[in-house]
Amino acid sequence: MTAPSSTLAVVIAHRRKRARRHHAIIATLLTLVAVTFGVTLSIGQSITPPSDVLRVLLGEPVPGASFTVGQLRLPRAVLSILAGLCFGLGGVAFQVMLRNPLASPDTIGITSGAGAAAVFAIVVLSMTGPMVSVIAVVAGLGVALLVYALSFRNGVAGTRLILVGIGVSAMLQSVIAYILQSAPAWNLQEAMRWLTGSVNGAQLGQALPLLLALIFFGGLLLVRGRDLETLRLGDDTAAALGTRVSNTRMLVIVAAVGLIASATAASGPIAFVAFLSGPIAGRIVRNDGSVLIPSALTGAVLVLAADYVGQHLLPSRYPVGVVTGALGAPYLLYLIVRINRIGGS
């Protein structure tokens, strides 16, 4: 009688160990976000001592620091974190659902949809501020639904969804190019921001809608996280395990697109954050539980760090999207080496 109970004990112990490891990973990533956040706030063109940073954060007026930290660095860092969380979470949801590390919102048209709508609103309709963001979110969702509808033929296969997304993305890119071609010079600057992704001139007011989107859509994703993870096993297996496949897929698409489009609306499409966060988090987590939260945190670290690098460590100042975009090529190379070894799909 001892044998089964000891097996049970081993399984339970193993599960506990995995859960502990998962918590430890999340805690480490959280610390990393906090450290990067702290560094971004205190070290820039000038160095602000951590004590002053803390006082500014607590709302005390500090001469000089109130402006550099409170007005310049804080909104920027907050927006970076929120955008990073949204991109990381939305991106990994797509990659898990479509079972392909290359199938991120960057490649299948969601980002271009939001970008095209924003550029249209800025250049053609001469809009500014929150209205542009609303339009970008709506357009991102619209494009996602269009891709979904176009790839519908006796149900939606992941493969077809990806390919249709690539086609739609190419069309939207040429729409963007056309609008920019005819744009007057004074709109071009703002429009370019929408194409590269940047947190320049961030304001705390932008953070609130993004936070709400993160809570709503992110919560939705996390609640259905278990169903999403079963999709990783293939549609048939997931269905056999009791997951309602098309229902889950629809929900994940809406939630992930909501995240991506809201973040794009606030900061522009910061290239490759959605693309990179999931695989990086996957490497850290391995098999110890869900990849969703670690991926979101990885996204936040990526955006914070890349923005810092683009601002202070390079010979000329780059918007964050350019720095993260340059990370894409090494990652693809890495993917070659890795996939070659493990023979994944």
Partner: protein, 348 residues
């Protein structure tokens, strides 16, 4: 002509071969279409021009606005003809070499690779001569092609159309953001960012065309001569090897031709996508799958399509122009989606 028709896996009847008389008729029709489009490209635009002015401008007269605009349109027309032919042919070769219905120099990131190479050369190495542009563009196109093929063919199942298309799309996005990264801090060349993202034939001059012509000619010759090899490849690697074809060499030679064509075209026009996707599919409907007919047809049809797209871009948004790269993407992307929807998932 029922003997050459087979039933495809999705239950459609499709022509494998056509009678040579049919093909010759289509060939004549395409030639006629090219001539009509050449005429349209010279006369139609922001300002429509009469025939007497065209004739005068051909003789070198530029003494009124109509004649001067014709003088500008002639090199542009020649470039569209050459670039369209090159891209159509390159697309047919790529689809043959990879046996992939979704292959296209734009989708597979080859054009963007050429673009990035030129931008890097200009910004970091002070490259300015046109010859350097062309060599560097060809080099970039070649590297991008190898890179994408390497990513796309790894893992289970080899180079499936899906994996190739995804690898190409991801590479294109990366290269595009690297182009921005290189150009953004350089105010002196920033005016050209846009021209390295979307291709156009508006900037054509005789000098540029003459410089690029030798490269294109070599590319055309290599590509057209590989038709027989591509026919063997279409049977599958094993059967082709069994027939005495050196599969790897055949692939390498044909790809070299396609890369020369794409690189040289991109060096002059910037990246033009989707032309190489649409053209071979249309031509297969006309002449079947025999590459000895398909390749020349794709060349002619590519020229037709690019000329037509260029004329269309000038008419639609008068008095402004739409770059031809935008027009081809707007026509080509829906076509791409249509092909994707038509195939069964398992075949992708």
């Amino acid at each position: 002509m029922t003997a050459g028709i087979i039933k495809t896996s999705d239950g459609r009847w499709s022509p494998v071969s056509r009678s040579n008389r049919m093909r010759s008729l289509w060939l004549a029709a395409l030639f006629a279409l090219v001539i009509v489009l050449l005429a349209a490209s010279v006369t139609v635009g922001t300002r429509n021009v009469g025939w007497d002015d065209v004739a005068a401008a051909m003789g070198g007269a530029q003494n009124n606005i109509d004649r001067a605009s014709v003088a500008l349109r002639i090199p542009r027309t020649v470039l569209a003809l050459l670039a369209g032919g090159a891209l159509g042919l390159a697309g047919a070769i790529m689809q043959g070499v990879t046996r992939n219905p979704l292959a296209d120099p734009g989708i597979l990131g080859v054009n963007m690779g050429a673009s990035l190479a030129v931008v890097v050369g200009v910004a970091w190495f002070g490259m300015s001569s046109l010859y350097a542009y062309i060599w560097v563009a060809i080099l970039g196109a070649g590297c991008a092609a190898i890179f994408v093929y390497a990513i796309g063919s790894l893992g289970r199942g080899g180079a499936t159309p899906l994996k190739m298309a995804l690898a190409g799309a991801a590479t294109s996005v990366t290269f595009a953001s690297m182009v921005i990264a290189v150009v953004l801090p350089r105010g002196d060349i920033a005016g050209g960012i846009h021209s390295w993202q979307i291709g156009g034939v508006g900037g054509a001059t005789y000098e540029r065309i003459l410089r690029v012509l030798p490269f294109l000619l070599v590319g055309f010759v290599i590509s057209l001569l590989s038709a027989r090899k591509l026919n063997s490849l279409a049977l599958g690697d094993e059967l082709a090897t069994g027939l005495g074809e050196s599969v790897a060499t055949a692939r390498a030679v044909a790809s070299l031709g396609a890369i020369l064509l794409c690189g040289a075209t991109t060096a002059i026009c910037g990246p033009i996508g989707f032309l190489g996707l649409v053209v071979p599919h249309l031509c297969r409907l006309l002449v079947g799958v025999d590459h000895r007919w398909l390749l020349p047809f794709s060349t002619l049809a590519g020229a037709c399509l690019l000329l037509a797209a260029d004329v269309l871009g000038r008419i639609v948004a008068r008095p402004a122009e739409i770059d031809v790269g935008i027009v081809t993407a707007m026509i080509g992307a829906p076509f791409f989606i249509w092909i994707v929807r038509r195939q069964r998932v398992r075949d992708l």
